[in-house]
Protein backbone atom coordinates (compact mmCIF):
# COMPACT_ATOMS: atom_id res chain seq x y z
CA UNK A 1 0.00 0.00 0.00
CA UNK A 2 2.85 2.35 0.91
CA UNK A 3 4.51 2.01 -2.45
CA UNK A 4 1.26 2.51 -4.31
CA UNK A 5 0.82 5.86 -2.69
CA UNK A 6 4.43 6.83 -3.01
CA UNK A 7 3.99 6.49 -6.71
CA UNK A 8 0.75 8.29 -6.96
CA UNK A 9 1.34 11.10 -4.44
CA UNK A 10 2.28 13.80 -6.86
CA UNK A 11 -0.35 13.01 -9.40
CA UNK A 12 -2.99 12.15 -6.78
CA UNK A 13 -5.16 15.18 -7.23
CA UNK A 14 -5.02 15.13 -10.99
CA UNK A 15 -5.93 11.47 -11.05
CA UNK A 16 -8.82 12.03 -8.71
CA UNK A 17 -10.22 14.67 -10.97
CA UNK A 18 -9.95 12.60 -14.09
CA UNK A 19 -11.15 9.34 -12.57
CA UNK A 20 -14.24 10.76 -11.01
CA UNK A 21 -14.76 13.48 -13.60
CA UNK A 22 -14.39 16.08 -10.90
CA UNK A 23 -17.32 14.77 -8.88
CA UNK A 24 -15.04 13.93 -5.98
CA UNK A 25 -15.01 17.64 -5.14
CA UNK A 26 -18.77 17.58 -4.74
CA UNK A 27 -18.57 14.45 -2.61
CA UNK A 28 -16.04 16.08 -0.31
CA UNK A 29 -18.13 19.25 -0.09
CA UNK A 30 -21.19 17.23 0.89
CA UNK A 31 -19.04 15.39 3.40
CA UNK A 32 -17.92 18.54 5.20
CA UNK A 33 -21.45 19.93 5.02
CA UNK A 34 -22.73 16.87 6.75
CA UNK A 35 -20.12 17.40 9.45
CA UNK A 36 -21.47 20.92 9.94
CA UNK A 37 -18.58 21.89 12.22
CA UNK A 38 -18.90 24.91 14.45
CA UNK A 39 -15.93 27.07 15.42
CA UNK A 40 -13.90 25.44 18.16
CA UNK A 41 -14.01 21.97 16.65
CA UNK A 42 -10.80 19.97 16.64
CA UNK A 43 -10.66 17.68 13.64
CA UNK A 44 -8.45 14.70 12.98
CA UNK A 45 -8.29 13.89 9.30
CA UNK A 46 -6.73 10.46 8.86
CA UNK A 47 -5.31 9.35 5.54
CA UNK A 48 -5.94 12.92 4.52
CA UNK A 49 -2.62 13.27 2.71
CA UNK A 50 -3.19 16.07 0.29
CA UNK A 51 -5.46 17.97 2.61
CA UNK A 52 -8.71 18.20 0.64
CA UNK A 53 -10.96 17.67 3.64
CA UNK A 54 -8.78 19.81 5.88
CA UNK A 55 -9.00 22.82 3.56
CA UNK A 56 -12.73 22.49 3.16
CA UNK A 57 -13.12 22.25 6.91
CA UNK A 58 -11.16 25.45 7.40
CA UNK A 59 -13.22 27.29 4.80
CA UNK A 60 -16.46 26.13 6.36
CA UNK A 61 -15.44 27.10 9.88
CA UNK A 62 -14.20 30.47 8.69
CA UNK A 63 -17.53 31.32 7.08
CA UNK A 64 -19.50 30.16 10.12
CA UNK A 65 -17.24 32.22 12.33
CA UNK A 66 -17.75 35.30 10.15
CA UNK A 67 -21.49 34.95 10.44
CA UNK A 68 -21.18 34.54 14.18
CA UNK A 69 -19.15 37.72 14.51
CA UNK A 70 -21.56 39.60 12.29
CA UNK A 71 -24.47 38.50 14.41
CA UNK A 72 -22.69 39.53 17.58
CA UNK A 73 -21.97 42.96 16.22
CA UNK A 74 -25.54 43.41 15.01
CA UNK A 75 -26.65 42.90 18.57
CA UNK A 76 -24.60 45.80 19.74
CA UNK A 77 -26.15 48.63 17.81
CA UNK A 78 -24.89 52.16 18.18
CA UNK A 79 -21.29 51.28 18.80
CA UNK A 80 -18.61 53.75 18.00
CA UNK A 81 -16.01 52.72 15.47
CA UNK A 82 -13.47 52.58 18.26
CA UNK A 83 -15.50 49.99 20.13
CA UNK A 84 -16.05 47.90 17.03
CA UNK A 85 -12.33 47.93 16.33
CA UNK A 86 -11.60 46.87 19.87
CA UNK A 87 -14.07 44.02 19.75
CA UNK A 88 -12.36 42.66 16.66
CA UNK A 89 -9.01 42.90 18.40
CA UNK A 90 -10.30 41.14 21.48
CA UNK A 91 -11.42 38.12 19.52
CA UNK A 92 -7.92 38.34 18.11
CA UNK A 93 -9.50 38.39 14.68
CA UNK A 94 -10.01 34.80 15.62
CA UNK A 95 -11.17 33.83 12.19
CA UNK A 96 -11.05 30.16 13.01
CA UNK A 97 -12.50 30.43 16.49
CA UNK A 98 -9.95 28.00 17.94
CA UNK A 99 -10.74 25.28 15.46
CA UNK A 100 -7.89 23.04 14.44
CA UNK A 101 -7.17 20.33 11.95
CA UNK A 102 -4.57 17.62 12.34
CA UNK A 103 -3.88 15.85 9.09
CA UNK A 104 -2.45 12.40 9.65
CA UNK A 105 -1.13 10.15 6.92
CA UNK A 106 1.03 7.07 6.78
CA UNK A 107 2.84 8.35 3.74
CA UNK A 108 5.43 11.10 3.92
CA UNK A 109 5.11 11.94 0.25
CA UNK A 110 1.41 12.61 0.52
CA UNK A 111 1.98 14.87 3.49
CA UNK A 112 4.64 16.76 1.58
CA UNK A 113 2.29 17.38 -1.29
CA UNK A 114 -0.34 18.47 1.18
CA UNK A 115 1.95 20.96 2.90
CA UNK A 116 2.93 22.45 -0.43
CA UNK A 117 -0.68 22.79 -1.41
CA UNK A 118 -1.47 24.50 1.87
CA UNK A 119 1.27 27.00 1.36
CA UNK A 120 0.24 27.58 -2.20
CA UNK A 121 -3.40 28.14 -1.32
CA UNK A 122 -2.59 30.27 1.71
CA UNK A 123 -3.72 28.08 4.58
CA UNK A 124 -1.46 28.70 7.52
CA UNK A 125 -3.19 28.69 10.89
CA UNK A 126 -4.95 25.78 12.53
CA UNK A 127 -3.22 23.11 10.44
CA UNK A 128 -0.84 20.41 11.56
CA UNK A 129 0.68 17.58 9.61
CA UNK A 130 1.52 14.37 11.41
CA UNK A 131 2.96 11.11 10.15
CA UNK A 132 1.06 8.18 11.55
CA UNK A 133 -0.63 4.84 11.03
CA UNK A 134 -4.42 4.64 11.25
CA UNK A 135 -4.15 1.32 13.07
CA UNK A 136 -1.96 2.87 15.74
CA UNK A 137 -2.48 6.60 16.05
CA UNK A 138 0.19 8.68 17.78
CA UNK A 139 -2.35 10.59 19.84
CA UNK A 140 -3.72 10.45 23.37
CA UNK A 141 -7.24 9.35 24.26
CA UNK A 142 -10.22 11.66 24.12
CA UNK A 143 -8.54 14.33 22.09
CA UNK A 144 -10.63 15.11 19.02
CA UNK A 145 -14.14 16.29 18.32
CA UNK A 146 -14.37 14.77 14.87
CA UNK A 147 -12.45 11.98 13.18
CA UNK A 148 -12.69 11.80 9.43
CA UNK A 149 -11.27 9.40 6.93
CA UNK A 150 -12.04 10.18 3.33
CA UNK A 151 -11.20 7.53 0.75
CA UNK A 152 -8.62 6.12 3.12
CA UNK A 153 -10.24 3.35 5.05
CA UNK A 154 -10.21 0.86 2.22
CA UNK A 155 -6.43 1.05 2.24
CA UNK A 156 -6.20 0.06 5.87
CA UNK A 157 -5.28 -3.58 6.39
CA UNK A 158 -7.14 -4.04 9.67
CA UNK A 159 -10.22 -1.88 9.47
CA UNK A 160 -11.39 -2.96 12.90
CA UNK A 161 -8.15 -1.70 14.46
CA UNK A 162 -8.51 1.63 12.71
CA UNK A 163 -12.08 1.91 14.00
CA UNK A 164 -10.97 1.12 17.52
CA UNK A 165 -8.26 3.74 17.32
CA UNK A 166 -10.83 6.21 16.07
CA UNK A 167 -12.99 5.42 19.06
CA UNK A 168 -10.06 5.86 21.41
CA UNK A 169 -8.92 9.29 20.27
CA UNK A 170 -12.40 10.78 20.08
CA UNK A 171 -13.83 12.82 22.92
CA UNK A 172 -17.11 11.63 24.46
CA UNK A 173 -19.79 12.90 22.14
CA UNK A 174 -17.31 12.96 19.31
CA UNK A 175 -18.19 11.98 15.78
CA UNK A 176 -16.69 9.46 13.39
CA UNK A 177 -17.20 10.20 9.71
CA UNK A 178 -16.08 8.03 6.84
CA UNK A 179 -16.33 8.78 3.14
CA UNK A 180 -15.64 5.80 0.94
CA UNK A 181 -16.46 4.02 -2.25
CA UNK A 182 -19.16 1.51 -1.63
CA UNK A 183 -21.51 -0.89 -3.32
CA UNK A 184 -23.98 0.06 -5.96
CA UNK A 185 -27.17 -1.92 -5.59
CA UNK A 186 -28.86 -0.72 -8.77
CA UNK A 187 -27.96 -3.46 -11.29
CA UNK A 188 -27.88 -1.33 -14.43
CA UNK A 189 -25.77 1.31 -12.84
CA UNK A 190 -23.46 -1.24 -11.30
CA UNK A 191 -22.70 -2.73 -14.70
CA UNK A 192 -21.88 0.66 -16.15
CA UNK A 193 -19.79 1.43 -13.11
CA UNK A 194 -17.86 -1.82 -13.42
CA UNK A 195 -17.24 -1.17 -17.06
CA UNK A 196 -15.92 2.26 -16.31
CA UNK A 197 -13.76 1.14 -13.39
CA UNK A 198 -12.05 -1.75 -15.06
CA UNK A 199 -11.68 -0.43 -18.56
CA UNK A 200 -11.23 3.29 -18.24
CA UNK A 201 -9.51 3.99 -14.95
CA UNK A 202 -6.31 1.93 -15.32
CA UNK A 203 -5.89 3.37 -18.79
CA UNK A 204 -6.18 6.87 -17.38
CA UNK A 205 -3.68 5.82 -14.74
CA UNK A 206 -1.19 4.82 -17.36
CA UNK A 207 -1.72 7.89 -19.47
CA UNK A 208 -1.69 10.51 -16.72
CA UNK A 209 0.48 9.03 -14.02
CA UNK A 210 2.38 6.42 -15.96
CA UNK A 211 1.28 3.70 -13.59
CA UNK A 212 -1.19 1.03 -14.63
CA UNK A 213 -0.74 -1.35 -11.76
CA UNK A 214 -1.44 1.09 -8.92
CA UNK A 215 -4.77 2.06 -10.40
CA UNK A 216 -5.67 -1.51 -11.12
CA UNK A 217 -5.03 -2.09 -7.40
CA UNK A 218 -7.18 0.88 -6.50
CA UNK A 219 -10.14 -0.37 -8.49
CA UNK A 220 -9.83 -3.87 -7.10
CA UNK A 221 -9.59 -2.60 -3.53
CA UNK A 222 -12.88 -0.81 -4.06
CA UNK A 223 -14.53 -4.11 -5.03
CA UNK A 224 -13.02 -5.88 -2.03
CA UNK A 225 -14.29 -3.33 0.41
CA UNK A 226 -17.25 -4.34 2.61
CA UNK A 227 -20.65 -2.95 1.58
CA UNK A 228 -22.59 -0.31 3.48
CA UNK A 229 -24.40 -2.50 5.99
CA UNK A 230 -21.30 -4.52 6.80
CA UNK A 231 -19.24 -1.42 7.42
CA UNK A 232 -22.04 -0.09 9.59
CA UNK A 233 -21.90 -3.27 11.69
CA UNK A 234 -18.14 -2.96 12.02
CA UNK A 235 -18.45 0.62 13.20
CA UNK A 236 -21.03 -0.43 15.76
CA UNK A 237 -18.69 -3.18 16.91
CA UNK A 238 -16.03 -0.62 17.66
CA UNK A 239 -18.41 1.01 20.10
CA UNK A 240 -20.07 3.79 18.17
CA UNK A 241 -23.71 4.68 18.58
CA UNK A 242 -26.26 6.11 16.20
CA UNK A 243 -24.36 4.68 13.27
CA UNK A 244 -25.86 5.58 9.96
CA UNK A 245 -24.88 5.87 6.33
CA UNK A 246 -25.88 8.01 3.41
CA UNK A 247 -25.42 6.91 -0.18
CA UNK A 248 -24.19 9.43 -2.68
CA UNK A 249 -24.70 8.72 -6.37
CA UNK A 250 -26.69 5.53 -5.75
CA UNK A 251 -23.97 3.91 -3.69
CA UNK A 252 -20.88 4.69 -5.67
CA UNK A 253 -19.83 6.58 -2.55
CA UNK A 254 -21.21 6.34 0.95
CA UNK A 255 -20.80 8.49 4.07
CA UNK A 256 -20.89 6.56 7.34
CA UNK A 257 -21.34 8.40 10.62
CA UNK A 258 -21.17 7.27 14.23
CA UNK A 259 -20.97 8.89 17.65
CA UNK A 260 -18.94 8.02 20.69
CA UNK A 261 -21.59 8.29 23.35
Amino acid sequence: VYQVFENVAKKYDVMNDSMTLGIHRVWKDIFVHKMNPCPGTVLLDVAGGTGDIAFRFINYVRSVRKRQLQRKLKHHQNLSWQEIFESYQKDGFNSLGDSQVVVCDINREMLKVGKQKAQHLGYSEGLSWVLGNAEELPFDDDKFDVYTIAFGIRNVTRIDLALQEAYRVLKPGGRFLCLEFSHVSNPLLSRLYDLYSFQVIPVLGEVIAGDWRSYQYLVESIRQFPPQEELKAMIEDAGFFKVDYENLNFGIVAIHSGFKL
Binding site: M35, G173, R175, A233, A238
Partner: protein, 283 residues
Protein backbone atom coordinates in the same frame (compact mmCIF):
# COMPACT_ATOMS: atom_id res chain seq x y z
CA UNK B 1 -24.21 -19.68 26.59
CA UNK B 2 -22.99 -16.15 26.97
CA UNK B 3 -24.22 -12.84 25.72
CA UNK B 4 -22.04 -10.04 24.45
CA UNK B 5 -21.10 -7.74 27.32
CA UNK B 6 -23.01 -4.54 27.60
CA UNK B 7 -21.22 -1.36 26.92
CA UNK B 8 -22.68 1.32 29.09
CA UNK B 9 -22.61 4.64 27.36
CA UNK B 10 -19.18 5.98 28.19
CA UNK B 11 -20.34 9.53 28.18
CA UNK B 12 -23.14 8.85 30.61
CA UNK B 13 -20.71 7.21 32.98
CA UNK B 14 -18.21 10.01 32.61
CA UNK B 15 -20.90 12.54 33.29
CA UNK B 16 -21.91 10.74 36.42
CA UNK B 17 -18.36 11.01 37.66
CA UNK B 18 -17.83 14.56 36.54
CA UNK B 19 -20.68 16.52 38.02
CA UNK B 20 -23.27 15.77 40.62
CA UNK B 21 -25.11 19.04 40.29
CA UNK B 22 -26.83 17.90 37.13
CA UNK B 23 -29.70 15.54 37.72
CA UNK B 24 -28.96 12.33 35.89
CA UNK B 25 -30.76 9.04 35.63
CA UNK B 26 -28.65 6.50 37.51
CA UNK B 27 -27.52 3.52 35.46
CA UNK B 28 -28.12 0.13 36.96
CA UNK B 29 -25.23 -1.39 38.85
CA UNK B 30 -24.62 -4.11 36.31
CA UNK B 31 -24.21 -1.55 33.56
CA UNK B 32 -21.73 0.11 35.84
CA UNK B 33 -19.46 -2.88 36.06
CA UNK B 34 -19.17 -3.01 32.31
CA UNK B 35 -18.13 0.60 32.07
CA UNK B 36 -14.46 -0.23 32.41
CA UNK B 37 -14.40 -3.07 29.93
CA UNK B 38 -12.46 -1.89 26.89
CA UNK B 39 -14.67 -1.45 23.87
CA UNK B 40 -12.32 -3.52 21.77
CA UNK B 41 -12.34 -6.64 23.86
CA UNK B 42 -15.57 -8.45 23.33
CA UNK B 43 -15.81 -12.19 23.04
CA UNK B 44 -16.36 -13.75 19.62
CA UNK B 45 -20.04 -14.22 18.99
CA UNK B 46 -21.53 -17.34 17.56
CA UNK B 47 -24.10 -15.57 15.51
CA UNK B 48 -23.54 -12.19 13.85
CA UNK B 49 -25.25 -10.26 16.56
CA UNK B 50 -24.22 -6.64 16.69
CA UNK B 51 -23.54 -4.94 20.00
CA UNK B 52 -26.86 -3.22 19.53
CA UNK B 53 -28.75 -4.50 22.56
CA UNK B 54 -31.61 -6.70 21.50
CA UNK B 55 -34.80 -7.12 23.42
CA UNK B 56 -34.20 -10.82 23.87
CA UNK B 57 -31.74 -12.21 26.33
CA UNK B 58 -30.96 -9.80 29.11
CA UNK B 59 -34.26 -8.04 28.77
CA UNK B 60 -34.69 -5.04 30.99
CA UNK B 61 -31.03 -4.24 31.28
CA UNK B 62 -30.50 -4.01 27.56
CA UNK B 63 -33.59 -1.97 26.98
CA UNK B 64 -32.32 0.47 29.57
CA UNK B 65 -29.03 0.79 27.72
CA UNK B 66 -30.94 1.41 24.52
CA UNK B 67 -33.08 4.04 26.09
CA UNK B 68 -30.06 5.84 27.45
CA UNK B 69 -29.28 7.06 23.97
CA UNK B 70 -32.63 8.81 23.73
CA UNK B 71 -32.34 10.02 27.28
CA UNK B 72 -28.97 11.48 26.43
CA UNK B 73 -30.45 13.27 23.44
CA UNK B 74 -33.20 14.52 25.69
CA UNK B 75 -30.64 15.88 28.15
CA UNK B 76 -28.64 17.58 25.42
CA UNK B 77 -31.74 19.30 24.06
CA UNK B 78 -32.80 20.44 27.50
CA UNK B 79 -29.34 21.84 28.14
CA UNK B 80 -29.40 23.54 24.75
CA UNK B 81 -32.54 25.51 25.58
CA UNK B 82 -30.69 28.02 27.71
CA UNK B 83 -28.51 28.99 24.75
CA UNK B 84 -31.43 29.63 22.45
CA UNK B 85 -31.92 33.32 23.29
CA UNK B 86 -28.35 33.90 22.20
CA UNK B 87 -27.88 31.55 19.26
CA UNK B 88 -31.42 30.97 18.09
CA UNK B 89 -32.92 27.57 17.38
CA UNK B 90 -29.84 26.28 15.64
CA UNK B 91 -27.28 23.54 15.73
CA UNK B 92 -25.02 26.02 17.51
CA UNK B 93 -27.32 26.17 20.49
CA UNK B 94 -27.35 22.36 20.57
CA UNK B 95 -23.55 22.32 20.38
CA UNK B 96 -23.32 24.70 23.33
CA UNK B 97 -25.77 22.55 25.23
CA UNK B 98 -23.69 19.46 24.54
CA UNK B 99 -20.62 21.32 25.78
CA UNK B 100 -22.22 22.05 29.14
CA UNK B 101 -22.86 18.34 29.55
CA UNK B 102 -19.21 17.62 28.98
CA UNK B 103 -19.67 16.25 25.48
CA UNK B 104 -17.87 17.29 22.35
CA UNK B 105 -19.57 19.93 20.19
CA UNK B 106 -19.70 17.33 17.43
CA UNK B 107 -22.56 15.67 19.32
CA UNK B 108 -24.84 18.30 17.79
CA UNK B 109 -24.40 16.31 14.59
CA UNK B 110 -26.86 13.79 16.01
CA UNK B 111 -29.64 16.25 15.30
CA UNK B 112 -30.78 17.93 12.17
CA UNK B 113 -28.87 21.07 11.32
CA UNK B 114 -31.92 23.35 11.32
CA UNK B 115 -32.74 22.80 14.97
CA UNK B 116 -36.12 21.13 14.34
CA UNK B 117 -35.65 18.58 17.06
CA UNK B 118 -34.81 21.29 19.55
CA UNK B 119 -38.01 23.17 18.82
CA UNK B 120 -40.17 20.05 18.89
CA UNK B 121 -38.57 19.06 22.16
CA UNK B 122 -39.34 22.48 23.63
CA UNK B 123 -42.95 22.39 22.48
CA UNK B 124 -43.51 18.95 23.90
CA UNK B 125 -41.92 20.02 27.20
CA UNK B 126 -44.24 23.03 27.38
CA UNK B 127 -47.22 20.83 26.70
CA UNK B 128 -46.21 18.46 29.50
CA UNK B 129 -45.84 21.37 31.88
CA UNK B 130 -49.26 22.64 30.91
CA UNK B 131 -50.79 19.20 31.55
CA UNK B 132 -49.20 19.07 34.96
CA UNK B 133 -50.51 22.51 35.79
CA UNK B 134 -54.04 21.65 34.71
CA UNK B 135 -53.89 18.36 36.59
CA UNK B 136 -52.85 20.13 39.77
CA UNK B 137 -55.67 22.62 39.41
CA UNK B 138 -58.15 19.83 38.85
CA UNK B 139 -56.96 18.08 42.00
CA UNK B 140 -57.46 21.25 44.00
CA UNK B 141 -61.01 21.54 42.69
CA UNK B 142 -61.71 17.91 43.51
CA UNK B 143 -60.39 18.38 47.03
CA UNK B 144 -62.72 21.29 47.34
CA UNK B 145 -59.90 23.75 47.95
CA UNK B 146 -60.69 25.80 44.87
CA UNK B 147 -63.73 26.92 42.97
CA UNK B 148 -64.48 25.34 39.63
CA UNK B 149 -63.87 28.01 37.04
CA UNK B 150 -66.44 28.89 34.40
CA UNK B 151 -65.50 27.61 30.98
CA UNK B 152 -64.36 30.86 29.44
CA UNK B 153 -62.13 31.73 32.35
CA UNK B 154 -60.68 28.24 32.35
CA UNK B 155 -59.81 28.36 28.66
CA UNK B 156 -58.40 31.82 28.99
CA UNK B 157 -56.15 30.87 31.88
CA UNK B 158 -54.96 27.68 30.22
CA UNK B 159 -54.02 29.42 26.96
CA UNK B 160 -52.39 32.26 28.85
CA UNK B 161 -50.34 29.87 30.97
CA UNK B 162 -49.18 28.02 27.90
CA UNK B 163 -48.26 31.16 26.03
CA UNK B 164 -46.38 32.57 28.97
CA UNK B 165 -43.93 29.69 28.64
CA UNK B 166 -42.81 31.25 25.38
CA UNK B 167 -41.82 34.53 26.97
CA UNK B 168 -38.12 33.75 27.61
CA UNK B 169 -37.72 32.73 23.97
CA UNK B 170 -40.05 35.23 22.42
CA UNK B 171 -37.42 36.93 20.28
CA UNK B 172 -36.49 33.80 18.43
CA UNK B 173 -39.96 32.26 18.46
CA UNK B 174 -41.00 33.49 14.99
CA UNK B 175 -38.02 31.59 13.63
CA UNK B 176 -39.21 28.50 15.47
CA UNK B 177 -42.72 28.86 14.08
CA UNK B 178 -41.41 28.94 10.55
CA UNK B 179 -39.31 25.83 11.14
CA UNK B 180 -42.34 24.05 12.57
CA UNK B 181 -44.18 24.75 9.33
CA UNK B 182 -41.59 22.96 7.19
CA UNK B 183 -43.22 20.02 5.44
CA UNK B 184 -40.90 17.63 7.21
CA UNK B 185 -42.02 18.86 10.61
CA UNK B 186 -45.70 19.36 10.01
CA UNK B 187 -46.84 15.91 11.14
CA UNK B 188 -45.02 16.22 14.45
CA UNK B 189 -45.92 19.83 15.13
CA UNK B 190 -49.57 19.26 14.22
CA UNK B 191 -49.62 16.25 16.49
CA UNK B 192 -48.27 18.28 19.40
CA UNK B 193 -50.73 21.09 18.79
CA UNK B 194 -53.79 18.86 18.64
CA UNK B 195 -52.81 16.90 21.72
CA UNK B 196 -52.34 20.12 23.66
CA UNK B 197 -55.74 21.43 22.64
CA UNK B 198 -57.23 18.06 23.48
CA UNK B 199 -55.66 18.23 26.90
CA UNK B 200 -57.09 21.64 27.65
CA UNK B 201 -60.59 20.60 26.66
CA UNK B 202 -60.28 17.42 28.66
CA UNK B 203 -59.45 19.34 31.80
CA UNK B 204 -62.17 21.86 30.97
CA UNK B 205 -64.57 18.98 31.45
CA UNK B 206 -65.54 18.41 27.87
CA UNK B 207 -67.21 15.04 27.49
CA UNK B 208 -68.94 15.50 24.18
CA UNK B 209 -69.18 12.57 21.83
CA UNK B 210 -70.88 14.30 18.95
CA UNK B 211 -69.82 16.79 16.35
CA UNK B 212 -69.28 19.30 19.12
CA UNK B 213 -65.95 17.64 19.83
CA UNK B 214 -64.57 18.82 16.52
CA UNK B 215 -65.99 22.31 16.64
CA UNK B 216 -64.67 22.87 20.14
CA UNK B 217 -61.19 21.81 19.18
CA UNK B 218 -61.20 23.80 15.97
CA UNK B 219 -62.36 26.91 17.80
CA UNK B 220 -59.74 26.61 20.52
CA UNK B 221 -56.99 25.89 18.01
CA UNK B 222 -57.99 29.04 16.18
CA UNK B 223 -57.93 31.05 19.39
CA UNK B 224 -54.55 29.69 20.40
CA UNK B 225 -52.87 30.25 17.04
CA UNK B 226 -54.16 33.77 16.57
CA UNK B 227 -53.21 34.75 20.10
CA UNK B 228 -49.74 33.34 19.56
CA UNK B 229 -49.31 35.46 16.45
CA UNK B 230 -50.55 38.54 18.26
CA UNK B 231 -48.05 37.86 20.99
CA UNK B 232 -45.20 37.80 18.47
CA UNK B 233 -45.61 41.45 17.65
CA UNK B 234 -46.90 42.66 20.98
CA UNK B 235 -44.73 45.25 22.63
CA UNK B 236 -47.03 46.29 25.46
CA UNK B 237 -45.77 45.91 29.03
CA UNK B 238 -46.42 42.41 30.32
CA UNK B 239 -48.13 41.50 27.05
CA UNK B 240 -51.40 42.99 28.29
CA UNK B 241 -52.57 43.59 24.73
CA UNK B 242 -52.25 39.90 24.03
CA UNK B 243 -54.22 38.88 27.11
CA UNK B 244 -56.95 41.36 26.25
CA UNK B 245 -57.09 39.96 22.71
CA UNK B 246 -57.36 36.49 24.17
CA UNK B 247 -60.19 37.54 26.46
CA UNK B 248 -62.12 38.97 23.55
CA UNK B 249 -61.64 35.91 21.39
CA UNK B 250 -62.78 33.55 24.12
CA UNK B 251 -65.80 35.77 24.77
CA UNK B 252 -66.58 35.71 21.04
CA UNK B 253 -66.43 31.94 21.03
CA UNK B 254 -68.80 31.74 23.98
CA UNK B 255 -71.24 34.16 22.38
CA UNK B 256 -71.10 32.20 19.18
CA UNK B 257 -71.94 28.96 20.88
CA UNK B 258 -74.79 30.64 22.80
CA UNK B 259 -76.10 32.15 19.62
CA UNK B 260 -75.90 28.80 17.90
CA UNK B 261 -77.95 27.09 20.58
CA UNK B 262 -80.41 30.01 20.61
CA UNK B 263 -80.82 29.72 16.88
CA UNK B 264 -81.41 26.04 17.25
CA UNK B 265 -84.05 26.45 19.93
CA UNK B 266 -85.69 29.30 18.04
CA UNK B 267 -85.80 27.13 14.99
CA UNK B 268 -87.42 24.34 16.96
CA UNK B 269 -89.97 26.73 18.42
CA UNK B 270 -90.81 28.06 14.97
CA UNK B 271 -91.27 24.56 13.61
CA UNK B 272 -93.54 23.64 16.48
CA UNK B 273 -95.59 26.80 15.94
CA UNK B 274 -95.99 25.96 12.25
CA UNK B 275 -97.00 22.41 13.07
CA UNK B 276 -99.63 23.70 15.51
CA UNK B 277 -100.92 26.14 12.90
CA UNK B 278 -101.12 23.38 10.33
CA UNK B 279 -103.04 21.12 12.72
CA UNK B 280 -105.41 23.97 13.58
CA UNK B 281 -105.98 24.77 9.94
CA UNK B 282 -106.63 21.18 9.00
CA UNK B 283 -109.27 20.87 11.71
Amino acid sequence: QHYPPLRALQASAALRRASDEHKKEPLTSSSQQHFDSPPAGHQPEQKPQGPRPSYTGQGGQESEDYESEEQLQHRILTAALEFVPEHGWTAEAIAEGAKTLGLSVAAAGMFHSDGSELILHFVSECNSRLSELLEKEQKLVQLGEAEKKPIDEFLRDAVEARLRMLIPYIEKWPQALSVLLLPRNIPSSLNLLTSMIDDIWHYAGDQSTDFNWYTRRAVLTGIYNTTELVMMQDSSPGFEDTWRFLENRVADAMTMSNTASQVQSTGEAVVQGLMGAAVTVSN
